[in-house]
């Protein structure tokens, strides 16, 4: 029996990256709801950067697009079963 600390359940995770930088997407359309849904959780909240991996520049643009969509009632402000 070894007493060396082994990392439990900590598998090698892929490094996060910003998908906008990688794919070269410059403008986020607030009308493209399927795309915006990737950045929301079930309650319609915007996912944090630590989960989505977005760079600050694009996280701000995502937030702006989501807020525009919410204002025009394309997305709900609060909900329980989005997706």
């Amino acid at each position: 029996m070894t007493l060396i600390n082994e990392s439990i359940g900590k598998r090698h995770t892929k490094k996060k990256y910003c998908r906008f930088k990688k794919l070269g997407i410059k403008y986020i359309d607030y009308k493209n709801l399927d795309f915006l849904l990737r950045f929301l959780n079930e309650q319609g909240k915007i996912l944090p950067r630590r989960i989505s991996g977005n760079s600050l520049k694009y996280q701000k643009k995502v937030a702006q697009a989501v807020k525009r969509a919410r204002h025009l009632a394309l997305l709900p402000y609060v909900t329980d079963n989005l997706k």
């Binding site: 998908r19 403008y27 959780n41 525009r68």
Partner: protein, 127 residues
């Protein structure tokens, strides 16, 4: 004065007749033309379900206009929106150069939307 690119969307109440709808849209189109705005693109998105009720309505008629205008026009446009009872929601914002490019490509059909759609969605994580 240099013209700026803008995009405006308004939502009309669904209770209007088609003539009234058309009339309101024409009214705002003429309003912009009067103010020396250049209309770039117009899109009647049509009747859509609202994500939440606005003024006890569950649907709305969406209409989008992309135009070039002087910045002073926007304030008067928004006042006109507020005064119109048929309009339940509106949004006007300035397009940056990426936005203008995106809309243009979308119209020409050269937009590579696949990129967006093909991308594998991330595994669900609870925040």
């Amino acid at each position: 004065m240099k013209l700026k690119n803008y995009e405006t969307v308004f939502v009309l109440t669904p209770v209007l007749t088609s003539e009234q709808t058309e009339g309101t849209i024409t009214k705002f189109r003429n309003f912009l033309l009067e103010k020396e705005a250049e209309l770039v693109h117009e899109e009647a998105i049509g009747l859509k379900k609202l994500a939440y009720p606005i003024q006890h309505k569950n649907t709305g008629i969406y209409h989008l206009i992309e135009f070039k205008a002087k910045p002073e026009v926007i304030a008067t446009l928004e006042i006109a929106y507020k005064r119109d009872e048929n309009i339940i929601r509106f949004l006007t914002f300035a397009l940056d150069k990426d936005g203008t490019e995106y809309n243009e490509q979308k119209r020409n059909g050269t937009l590579q939307l696949k990129k967006h759609i093909e991308f594998e969605p991330k595994k669900e994580e609870t925040a």
